[in-house]
């Protein structure tokens, strides 16, 4: 469909988001889009086309089509992982993903730290069930974070409360305490052998060869460089953690305890959090909690939460089409993208996914915004600025399953077939867990006039004068076949992979007659092709004594020289020159090569106009965003049953609310200089005073006259600013709130559905 007042060149751009819609044919829509792309390329260059999504493989439609057409401007987003990007430079796995042990080994731990994270809400499926088996095996759980969440509550975890974005201060004081209390004879806390053999940069005697700065981590902790020892008393003023809890946590990290530290990415989705991942690593190394049964430190994120290790079964991967190189090297970080459109310039820094070149300020003239796969207006920080940027360009296209935010503000909206309407694995269903793989099937004929991203891409390629085989050399039907036939499963010895699927000549004939047109060859595997298609999944059974266990860093710990880590020295770099050089070269904010405290942009201290005198500022409350079970980030926030089940309130500390006269269920206005939202209040004693928790992912419903977002979109309040790596700092924002004086909100599930009434 097309926005009524859009015409080539943009038409009345101001009406984006509030215009009426006109139903048009696929041919018309594709012609408009092809003409818009041609116009942008010929008049303004390929870099005037922006595709503000990320992870090319999640939807290689736009990437291959636009790359074949001469390229496009790419949106770089730290997204889920925050400041863990570049973690490989100091020795962790890329983005700090993986790195802990598998679920069977986890049961050997005595202490499990959930550093941030809420698998019950953020890693659905059986992750929480599996982690409960760790609890039942006898481990004590610790939860670190500003809110005692559902998972912490389930595990009866000890709550170590830390304000959003202040984890660096908290952990520095943990290091200080470990150093102060350690006595190799009478009170062995620190594993000095581990530090000396497997890390560099901890103290002056173990500096890496490439260090440019004559400073080390230990002396920084003791206050040698800034006169401030990083004591629990110092940290407590910032992070809000009671001094006795900091000391208790430090003692719990001791070397003679089996400790597994599982981190989420909530503490890294903060401004100025560049030291956090390196510091978490340093503390795990101080306790020697790497590479041994029951000891680990690594990620707890979606499918690998509580169950790290290489996959035991995985779908065929050669169904992914080869990624074409993008000839345009304009890459803009998400928090800076709306400003880039509005102001016509941006800082081209080292990137997450392409090159490490810092090129400085560049001019940019975005004319087309092409949305595929991701609802960037709801998902990128600074929704109101994003809307302003959308109202500037000539053409906005959105491929979408439903009328989400980017569709609302687009000119041409293309309805896309869901997973259930086609024989194809779309992105995320391929990621299930290391021991379980889904093989989804079409369950209904496509509804109405939906098409696939790839069909649209092929049609556009023709209109742009390209052979569709260049961007899309493999058909969807072939990719679906390869997804099955290429699946691999671990052998019983746990040493190598073998084919999962047995395919006969008859199977290939059957597939072509009943499923789709595909070429294949007979092969021997464990399960017949027809049977797998029928069952829809394959699971590798597990037991505690099987051959599939996984202990991260085991090889490195056995032989650090023979199995070096990804860092320059091959060891855990507590001082990492290459990391500091990359971040400091970007020019947003400076870091030390070792973990060090930095004042956080829009962090706790900035909630005061005068921190030393503790005088609160205009926006005295810290707000953070959690994953919410009503939706998956911004996907599917339009399901009435789920809206009824999950009301999406804003969570406020009970005492803070009472001081403002706010009761449970009251509609509250939460605002800052970037936006205003309404939500119903849920008062809780499980949240630190001064903190507000607004679940992420709601589709903004912004009233044009008041500017109020009635749906409570998290990014309506998130500042479109960036520090360090260019992190989308979802969890470091400041707001004020009050009881709303207007009409109270109706519960979300009673709102009209977001559907179009055509003219």
């Amino acid at each position: 469909m097309k926005r009524k007042h859009w015409e080539p060149g943009g038409g009345n751009k101001e009406l984006r988001g509030r215009d009426e819609w006109v139903r048009i044919s696929w041919d018309e829509a594709l012609d408009y889009i092809a003409d818009g792309l041609k116009d942008a390329k010929e008049n303004y260059g390929n870099n005037s086309i922006l595709a503000p999504t990320f992870f090319a493989a999640a939807s290689n439609f736009f990437h291959n089509l636009l790359s074949a057409y001469g390229g496009y401007t790419f949106l770089e987003d730290t997204g889920s992982f925050g400041s863990f990007w570049f973690a490989h430079l100091y020795g962790l796995p890329p983005k700090g993903y993986e790195g802990a042990n598998d679920r069977m080994d986890l049961r050997k731990a005595e202490t499990v730290v959930l550093y941030g994270g809420n698998p019950a809400w953020a890693s659905t499926g059986n992750r929480t069930y599996n982690m409960m088996q760790v609890k039942k095996a006898g481990a004590n759980f610790i939860y670190v974070g500003p809110e005692y969440n559902v998972s912490a509550n389930l595990f009866d975890a000890k709550w170590i409360r830390v304000r959003p974005g202040t984890d660096t201060a908290f952990l520095l004081a943990v290091v200080y305490t470990m150093l102060k209390e350690d006595d190799p004879v009478s009170n062995p806390i620190i594993d000095w052998d581990f530090l000396n053999s497997y890390t560099v940069g901890f103290d002056a005697e173990h500096m890496p060869a490439d260090a440019k700065l004559d400073e080390n981590f230990k002396d920084y902790i003791l206050g040698k460089y800034d006169g401030q020892p990083k004591t629990p008393e110092w940290a407590s003023e910032i992070c809000g953690t009671p001094v006795e809890d900091i000391v208790w946590y430090a003692r719990e990290m001791r070397k003679d305890k089996k400790v597994s530290i599982l981190h989420s990415y909530a503490p890294s989705r903060c401004n100025n959090a560049e030291s956090f991942p390196q510091l978490l690593m340093a503390i795990a190394a101080m306790g020697g909690h790497f590479g041994k049964p029951g000891h680990s430190c690594g990620g707890m994120h979606d499918q690998q939460a509580g169950n790290c290790g290489p996959p035991l079964v995985y779908a065929g991967t050669n169904y992914d089409m080869p990624e074409l190189p993008n000839p345009v090297d304009d890459i803009i970080y998400a928090p800076e993208v709306w400003d880039a459109i509005l102001e016509g310039k941006y800082n081209r820094t080292a990137t997450l996914t392409r090159d490490l070149n810092n090129e400085g300020m560049r001019d940019i003239d975005i004319r087309v915004i092409y949305h595929v796969c991701r609802d960037a207006l709801a998902a990128v920080v600074g929704t109101n600025k994003g809307i302003e940027a959308h109202r500037k360009v000539d053409l906005v296209v959105a491929h979408t399953l439903s009328l989400n935010s980017v569709a609302q503000y687009a000119d041409i909206v293309l309805p896309i077939a869901t997973q259930w309407e086609i024989q194809y694995d779309q992105g995320y269903l391929r990621q299930t867990s290391r021991e379980f793989q889904m093989f989804p099937s079409q369950i209904t004929e496509p509804l109405y006039e939906v098409q696939t991203d790839q069909w649209i891409g092929e049609e556009l390629a023709k209109r742009l004068g390209m052979d569709p085989k260049i961007p899309f050399p493999v058909s969807l039907e072939q990719r679906y076949y390869d997804f099955f036939a290429g699946a691999q499963v671990i052998n019983e010895a746990g040493t190598d992979y073998e084919n999962l699927v047995t395919v006969t000549e008859d199977d290939i004939v059957w597939w072509n007659q009943n499923v789709g047109k595909a070429e294949g060859k007979p092969q021997q595997g464990r399960i017949g092709l027809k049977q797998l298609k029928e069952v829809g999944f394959y699971q590798v059974p597990r037991s505690e004594d099987d051959n599939y266990g996984h202990i991260s860093y085991e090889e490195f710990v056995k032989d650090p020289g023979g199995n070096p880590l990804s860092s320059k020295s091959g060891k855990f770099e507590i001082y990492c020159q290459s990391y500091a050089d990359v971040i400091n070269g970007m020019g947003r904010s400076k870091i030390k090569p070792y973990p060090a405290y930095a004042r956080v942009l829009n962090g706790y201290e900035e909630s005061f106009s005068d921190f030393d005198k503790r005088i609160k500022g205009d926006y005295p409350y810290q707000i953070f965003n959690v994953h919410y079970l009503r939706r998956a980030d911004t996907a599917y926030d339009n399901i009435p049953w789920l809206k009824e089940a999950w009301t999406s309130p804003v969570f406020i500390n009970t005492q803070d609310a009472i001081e403002k006269g706010v009761k449970d269920g009251d509609t509250v206005l939460v605002w800052n200089q970037y936006g205003k939202i309404l939500r119903r209040a849920s008062l809780t004693n499980r949240l630190m005073p001064g903190c507000i928790n607004l679940p992420n992912g709601a589709w903004p419903e912004i009233e044009e006259d008041t500017g109020i977002d009635k749906a409570g979109g998290a990014n309506t309040l998130c500042a479109p600013v960036a520090t360090g790596i260019g992190v989308s700092g979802y969890n470091t924002n400041l707001v004020d709130f009050e009881k709303y004086k207007g009409d109270p909100l109706t519960p979300d599930h009673l709102w009209p559905l977001r559907v179009i009434n055509y003219l």
Binding site: A120, V150, P640, W641, W646, N653, T654, L683, N685, R686
Partner: protein, 191 residues
């Protein structure tokens, strides 16, 4: 012996998969819930705790909804569960008023009441109710309460303070409570 639900509150994460699976099985519009999850907070900051309680029809063995039904629409099935015959229902809502658990739900567009039938059709086919199989934490079960009591130990209760006093109805339920779900300072919360 009586058939009923068992809920392990020590495993429940309040995800509402049971609630939504029930809506799917029974194709219920927004506003009608045969199974519902409520959340309660106890204690003061920073030692506050949360618990979740998933409830549906209790299939009481002395059910007021059956006693009060003027047409016999609400009745006992042979297996002892409380069932509802839509054909006999006149929409008088006596059962709605009689049930302290809010299990019978009046559907105004049909002018009849409906409620959880413990997925009798699925059970008759040898499987579990939809809510039981949807639970990712495996904290719901349905079956013979004597057997469930044997299986899950002695520290089970048939009521907790958030529930109405209703022992006279003999609800067919077994609950493994969180310790703090027995405290009296609970406050219901939106989560």
């Amino acid at each position: 012996m009586a058939l009923g639900f068992y809920l392990d509150m020590t495993m429940c994460i309040g995800c509402r998969a049971c609630q939504v699976a029930c809506k799917d099985k029974n194709n219920l519009r927004v506003g009608i819930l045969f199974r519902n999850v409520h959340n309660y907070e106890t204690g003061a900051y920073p030692n506050s705790k949360l618990y979740h309680y998933s409830s549906a029809c209790y299939h009481c063995t002395d059910a007021k909804c059956v006693k009060g039904c003027p047409t016999g629409a609400m009745h006992y099935a042979k297996d002892g569960t409380v069932q509802h015959d839509d054909e006999l229902c006149i929409g008088c809502q006596y059962c709605v008023w009689n049930c302290p658990y809010e299990a019978p739900q009046y559907i105004d567009e049909l002018n009849i009441v409906k409620k959880c039938d413990s997925c009798k059709d699925i059970r008759d086919a040898g499987e579990n109710p939809a809510c039981v199989d949807a639970c990712p934490m495996r904290c719901l079960e349905f079956g013979d309460l004597d057997e469930l009591r044997k299986k899950h130990g002695a520290d089970l209760v048939t009521s907790i303070p958030i529930l109405p006093t209703s022992s006279s109805l003999k609800p067919s339920i077994l609950i493994k409570p969180r310790s703090y779900a027995l405290e009296l300072d609970f406050v219901e919360k939106e989560v």
